[in-house]
Each structure stands twice: as C-alpha cells, then as structure tokens.
C-alpha cells in the first residue's frame, strides 16, 4: 500500500488491481492542483479491508472488477462489513452493465466511469460526499 497523507486532509483509498490506474489517478489529482487530497492505493480487496479497519480513510474509489471477484457486488459489502461508513464510489472502464443500477443495494454511494474522472469531478465528489454532507434543505433545519 502506498500512502501520501497529512493532517486535516482528505484521505482517498484507491482499490484497483491494475497499478497503472494508481499512476493515472495520481496524475489527475495532481492536475487538479488540490493539495488537500491524500491518495492511498491497494490492489486487492483484502488489503483494502485492512486499511479500512485501520481507520482514517474518508472515501474509497473501488474498481469494479477486482480479480478474482466478479464485480463490486462482491467487494463493496466487504468494505461495509469492515465498518467503513464513508462514501464508496465504484470506478470502471465500463459502467453500462445493468447490474450497476443496483449499486445502492450493495452499500455503494456513486459510480463513475474511469474516463470521466478528472480534477473537476474529483473536487465535486469530495465536496458532495465529504465536506457538505447535509443538503441545503437539511442544513436549513439546523440553522
């Protein structure tokens, strides 16, 4: 596992059996010039579970197909089972499969094509799921 983290920063865990994806994501985060994000990387779900149990992860980008598992329906529940309550996003080269429609049933918060991931999208997701947990309507209730 690689880790680049500092205090008061967002820690994102990338789970992907292709190390090239780690390199690519790192590059995209770098392009986004957002230094508040720390990207951790593991290549299998077992390691991801260990990282989650260790704590400190704010968000997980989970590759849909992690060998030898079929798809996220087998891996995402393992992360939830490890006690992770933060947002989990499924990333895949192809999210057109019909089973992706059921992602919420398996503890997944969003799905996104790997092609779509860039700095803007990552900032938006971080804002949506980590910094602004309450919707405007809900926030008003607390005012």
């Amino acid at each position: 596992m690689s880790s680049e983290q500092s205090d008061n920063q967002i820690r994102i865990l990338l789970v992907d059996d292709d190390p090239a994806e780690h390199i690519l994501l790192k590059r995209k985060l770098k392009s986004a010039e957002d230094s508040s994000i720390d990207l951790d990387y593991v290549s299998d779900i077992g390691s991801a579970v260990d990282v989650v149990k260790a704590g400190g992860i704010d968000m997980i980008f989970l590759d849909n197909r992690l060998v030898p598992n079929n798809d996220f329906r087998e891996t995402a529940p393992q992360l939830r089972g490890a006690g992770f309550i933060g947002p989990i996003g499924i990333i895949s080269s192809d999210i057109s499969g019909r089973y992706f429609e059921q992602f919420r049933d398996f503890g997944v918060d969003f799905k996104i094509g790997k092609d779509e991931i860039d700095g803007t999208v990552i900032n938006f997701i971080i804002k949506e799921y980590t910094q602004d947990q309450l919707s405007e309507t809900c926030s008003e209730d607390y005012m």
């Binding site: 299998d44 060998v67 790997k114």
Partner: protein, 740 residues
C-alpha cells in the same frame, strides 16, 4: 110384516159398526150402541150415565167440543171433527167425531147423537202408502239410471234426481204434469240435444222423430245430451198406459267404441304391415292397408291365399317348425325373419312378430310385419362402418379402451393389448388399473375421481414401461360418460407422446443452451467492453501524459509510461487473439466421431511440447477408451486443461498430470489432475467464465483467462459437463463428463 121405522133405526143402531153415543143436554151419556161398548171397552151400562169427558184423550179437545155444542141450541146443526179418544184401558185411538142434535118430537133439542168413526186403520193405510212412496223415492234416487214416468196423456208423473241430472238443461221444465213434448222442446231450444240440428226445420224434424219414438217405443237407442255424454234410452208403455223411461249413461262405452274404431283406423293406416289370421283355418282374416299395398293384393285376394303363396323366406316344413310353438300354445309370441313375395313376383325381407290371441272365440294369430329392406341396408352399412371403425381402431397407434366406471374393461383395442402382452379378450373383465404401473395408480385414481358431469374429460401424461423394458410416455384422455347424472362408462384413449416429450426436452435443453449462450455472449460483450476498453483508455492517458511531460521538459517518468503503453498493447493483442480463438471454437458445430481418447490426449500434450519441457511435466494416462466426440475440440479441451496445469504449477516443482478415463452409469468420466497450486473451492464456478483470472499478478501467471471458458463451451456442445473437483487437496482436478 113390514118393519117399522123405529125398528129399522133400532136395528141400524144396534148393528152399526161405528160407535154411537147419545148424550143429553146435561152432558151425560144416556145410551150407547154395542159398537161403542166394544170400541171404548165399557159395557153399555157403564157408558150410560158417564160423562163424555172421560172418553177424550185431551181435556182441550173435550172443552172445545163441549163449548161448541153446549148449551144445545138451534144454531147447532152438526159438528165434524177429528180427534183422539181414550178407551177404558187408557189406550187412545184416532177418530172422526160427528155430532148431531137430537130433536124431540116437538123439534126441541133434547140431546146429541155422536157418531165415532175409528180412523186407526185409515191412518195405518195412509202411513203404509207414505212409507211405500218414500221407499220408491229412495230407490229411484239411489239408482244411477234416470227414471221417468209419464201418464197416458204424456204428462210427467215422476222422475228421479238422476233423470234431472242427465237433462240439466231440461230440468226447469220438468214440472209434474208437464208434457213430454213441452220438456223436449224446452231442451231442444236451449241446446240440450247436440244432435237436434241447427235450423228450425232440423229441430222440428228431430222433435217429431223423438216424439214418434217416445210414443212407439222400440229398441233402445243412444242419445247424445252433451258433446261427450251419451245415454242409452229405453222406453216402454205399461199396461195402464204409463210411459216408463230409463236413461243409462253409456259415455264410457261410446268412448271405448270410438277408441276401438280409432285404433282400428290407426292399425289400418299404420305403415307397418298388420295381419290377422285364423289359426284353425290357416286363413287370413284381415290385413291392413300397408300389407295390402306392399303385397299388391286386395283383401279379397289375400283371403284366398295360403301362407305359401306370399311367404317365400322359408319352406313349408320350416314354417311348420317355426309355427309349432305358437300353434300348440307353448309360446304366445314368435319373432322371426322371412321374405314376402308380392303379387308381381318381387320380394322383400321382413321381420315378423307373431302373437297368438286366445281370448277370442277362435285362436287367432296377429302378425306385425316390418319391411326390413331399408333396415338391412342400414344394418349392412352400419356393419361396414363398424368394420371400417374396427379397422381404423385396430390400425390406430393409439390405445383405446372402454370400461365401466370402476375401470373394469369392456373393450380394448389390439394395439393396447399388444403393448400389455395379452389378447384383448384376456384383458376384458379385468380392471384398467391392473395395467397401470403401480407408481401411477394413485394419481390415476385421483384423476378419474375428478371426472364430473360438468367436467367429464381430462388428460394426463403417464409413463408406461414396455415389454422390452423401455419407458414410453402416453397422453391419456379419459372421458366419463354420464346418464341421468350417474357415470356409466369410461372411454380412454392413450397416445404415445414419447417423441413429443423428447422433442420438448430437446427444445427445453436447446432453450437452456441458448440461454447459456446468450449469457455467455452478454458476458463476452461485457468483458470485451471492459477488458478491451481499459487498456485502450490507459494507453491514451499514458500517451497524453508523455506528451504533457515532454512539453514540460520532464523525462523522469517517460520510460514508465511508455512501458505501460507497451504492456497494455501486448495485453490487448493477447485478448484479441484469445477472443478470436474463443469465437472460432466456442460456437462451431461439432463433428462427432469415434476415436481413442489417448489419441486426443497425446496430441494435446504434444501441442504443448515446449511448455511441457520447460515445466518438466509428465502425463500419466489411465484407461484408454473409445470416445464419440469431435476430435479437434476434445483435443483443444485437453490442451487447455494441460496448459492450465502447466501454468499454475508449484514453483520449483515438476508438473505431474494424470488423465484417468472410465465408464460410469451416466457416461464417460475423465479426470485431469495436476499437482499445481490448486484452486480455491469458492472459485469453482467462476473460473469457467470468459477472461476470468484468479491471479492478478501477470508476472507470475500470465494469460487472458479464457482457457477454461473454452473448455466448458466445448464440453457443453457435446451435452457433457466439466467441473472442478473441490475435494482435491493437492493441486487441481477437473472432471470431464461425456454422455453415454
């Protein structure tokens, strides 16, 4: 000597049979004749000096008579009265009392003379007459016949109630003393007599005839007094010129007569031939129109014929034998077929029902003859149809049975009997259930119990073993026939649907295969879209990154990025090749043939010679058997399995592969076992998917993950199966099953 008037009076007084009492002006009896003494039971002496009061039964009568006569004066001439008198013994008798004044010589009334006439006998006679009248009236009223008497002037003297009931319309005119003619006219005018005619002339003529008959009675005749009521009129004149008439209701007799006439008419006109013959004279008495027309003889001609003249269906001897039981009276009815010959010589077959009739003055034979020409034609046609039906049923491949509701067989076609191994006649009388496999009986019993008048037909599929041990499937259609709500017959037809079921199974299997293929295609497209898009995307991104770094003058990561590009390009090439291989093999038609399994195993092993040498692998084949399969595909299957064993071997260890083939009840079982790293049992099914790899480390275990998917496609195309034996502990063991 000439008797003096005094002597005559005295003699009359003495001999008069009626009592005579002389009473004086003081109401004292002064004299009484012997008849009085005898009637009242007193002596004449006792009567003399008595007061008459003692002779009255009631004091009222005595007072009234006394008041009327006393004091005796000129105004009283005579008293005449009926009353009751009392004898000395207290008995009473009715009497007629006549009292006259008794004048003296000076015409001075000196007393009264009372003449008593005993009315007992007269009353008795009257009572007897009244009783006789009552008896007569009762008798007349009690008889159902109408009874009437007219006097010599034709005036109504009497009639009973029945007579009045018979002529209800005339009843108001039936007054005693009314003439017969007036009563008849009254009835004619008001419709009492339906046959009296409509016009005045007709009625007058009818009345005249009626009067004529009445005045000169002769034979009884029938008269209609209502449309449905008939009377027998009997009239006679007595010696004292009284017209006595009796009316008897003969409606029933008339109706019976008309019914007999109607029956005769029906018999005459019925289409069936009817003959009546004398058995003693052996001669036809009568024949109806159908008989005459069909035989073409008149009745007179028929009476002249003997039986032999028109009955030609049998010889005289045969007829004699046939008729003997009837002639002797042994039997009453005889039915037989014969042939009649017409006058023109043509013949026709007929059925005769001959009945002996003994209740008449001579034994007669009544014959009903039916021309059965058409019937025979129909019967022959029916026989032909029956024959055709039997032929059809015999040749039908279906099983056909008829049975009682309790499944006792009454008919079995040959085809069914043959399948059971019995003759049809040996099955009849046995229960249908006896021939149903025991395992199916309960289901069939429930099935039959479910047949109702509302739903008399249902069907059920049933497996039936044949005599050769083969199991065939039959679709049984069971129809329960109901009559008056009760089941009377079970008709069952069984059709062999084995081929249909096999076709259905085949279609189901093909559907399953199609589903699998569709699933594989879906998976294939999903994998292609993912696993081919992923490296392409990466290549593009790494190329972009290289461009960016070059523009920025950075060169540190260029080698890494270009390395990824090369790696991804190679992976894509491999995948493309694998997909091509999969598409070529997975869906090709198989060309099965018989070959030795060892041939395919050896060829597969030799194709991997380089890898085998590198892995220092050995192959141990056990049980060389003949296989019916596609040689090339099966070789490819074993090649992939061997390649898998070579790839996933234990590091630093020689690969040992064992192939073991043996026949099992379901077919041929081939195990391919290695001593490699083995496979997690949880992945036992997943490994057969396209591009499914269990190891991400390409450096250790490279490959596209398509080999086992191909193995499954190849074996499924042979209707076989392949699976991972998860019980294998040391290495991996794949089991290949090929159908027998």
């Amino acid at each position: 000597m000439q008797p003096s008037p005094e002597n005559l009076l005295k003699a009359l007084y003495e001999t008069l049979p009626d009592p005579v009492l002389i009473v004086n002006e003081h109401r004292i009896i002064v004299a009484a004749n012997p008849a009085a003494a005898e009637k009242f039971g007193y002596s004449t002496d006792e009567l003399s000096g008595m007061e008459p009061l003692a002779l009255y039964e009631s004091i009222e009568d005595a007072k009234e008579v006394g008041a009327a006569l006393y004091p005796i004066g000129d105004d009283i001439k005579m008293l005449h009265r009926r009353l009751s008198l009392r004898r000395k013994d207290g008995s009473v008798f009715p009497a007629e009392l006549t009292v006259s004044k008794l004048d003296s010589s000076g015409d001075e009334p000196i007393g009264l003379v009372a003449l008593v006439r005993d009315l007992s006998e007269i009353y008795q006679v009257q009572e007897e007459r009244l009783r006789a009248e009552a008896i007569l009236n009762t008798a007349l009223a009690s008889i159902s016949e109408g009874f009437v008497v007219y006097d010599d002037q034709d005036r109504l003297v009497l009639c009973n109630d029945a007579y009045r009931d018979i002529y209800p319309i005339c009843n108001p005119a039936m007054q005693i003393g009314a003439t017969f003619e007036s009563i008849v006219r009254y009835g004619v005018d008001r419709g009492q007599y339906p046959d009296a005619g409509e016009t005045q002339e007709e009625r007058e003529a009818w009345i005249a005839q009626r009067l004529q008959r009445h005045r000169n009675p002769g034979e009884p005749f029938v008269q209609r007094v209502r449309p449905d009521r008939f009377l027998l009129v009997e009239e006679r004149i007595t010696e004292d010129k009284l017209h006595v008439g009796v009316r008897t209701d003969v409606s029933v007799l008339s109706q019976a007569k008309s019914e007999a006439e109607r029956l005769g008419l029906i018999i005459e006109n019925v289409a069936q031939e009817v003959y009546l013959a004398s058995m003693t004279r052996e001669q036809l008495i009568s024949a109806n129109k159908a008989a005459r027309d069909n035989l073409q003889y008149s009745m007179e001609e028929l009476r002249e014929l003997s039986a032999a003249d028109f009955i030609v269906g049998s010889t005289e001897e045969e007829r004699a034998v046939l008729m003997a039981p009837i002639v002797s009276g042994e039997t009453k009815v005889q039915v037989f077929n014969t042939v009649h010959r017409r006058k023109d010589g043509s013949t026709y077959p007929c059925r005769v029902r001959l009945e002996r009739m003994d209740d008449l003055h001579e034994p007669l034979a009544l014959a009903f003859v039916e021309d059965i020409t058409e019937r025979l034609e129909i019967e022959n046609a029916l026989k032909q149809k029956e024959h055709e039906f039997q032929t059809l049923v015999r040749n039908l491949p279906d099983f056909i049975t008829r049975a009682k509701p309790d499944t006792t067989l009454t008919y079995v076609n040959e085809h069914y009997a043959r399948s059971v191994g019995l003759a049809p006649e040996d099955m009849i009388g046995r229960k249908f259930m006896d021939f149903v496999p025991e395992t199916e009986r309960q289901v069939l019993a429930e099935h039959l119990a479910g047949l109702t008048q509302e739903q008399p037909l249902n069907t059920a599929e049933q497996a039936m073993p044949t005599l050769s041990g083969e199991t065939l499937w039959y679709l049984w259609s069971n129809l329960m026939v109901f009559e008056n709500g009760e089941p009377v017959e079970l008709v069952s037809v069984g059709r062999d649907i084995t081929e249909v079921r096999e076709a259905q199974d085949r279609i189901a299997r093909q559907s399953r295969e199609l589903k699998l293929r569709n699933s594989a295609l879906e998976q294939f497209s999903a994998v292609v879209s993912h696993d081919l898009k992923a490296p392409l995307r990466q290549i593009r991104l790494f190329a972009d990154m290289i461009a960016e770094d070059v523009s920025a003058g950075k060169t540190d990561d260029l080698a890494t990025f270009s390395g990824y590009i090369s790696q991804r390009s190679e992976a894509m090439e491999e995948m493309t090749s694998s997909l091509l291989e999969y598409s070529q093999l997975a869906y090709q038609r198989i060309n099965p043939e018989n070959f030795q399994l060892s041939e395919a195993l050896n060829l597969a092993w030799n194709n991997l010679a380089v890898n085998v040498g590198e892995a220092q692998a050995t192959l141990d084949v056990e049980g060389d058997v003949t296989v019916y399969a596609d040689f090339n595909l099966l070789t490819q299957l074993f090649q992939n399995l061997f390649a898998n064993s070579l790839k996933y071997r234990q590091p630093h260890s020689a690969v040992e592969i064992k192939a073991r083939a043996r026949h099992v009840p379901d077919g041929l079982k081939i195990d391919v076992e290695d001593n490699g790293i083995g496979i997690d049992p949880e992945q036992a099914e997943r490994i057969f998917g396209v591009f499914q790899r269990l190891h991400a480390d390409e450096k250790l275990y490279s490959g596209t993950g398509i080999g086992l998917a191909l193995c499954r496609r190849i074996i499924e195309s042979h209707d076989g199966s392949i699976y991972l034996d998860t019980s294998c502990q040391d290495g991996a063991r794949f089991v290949v099953m090929l159908p027998a």
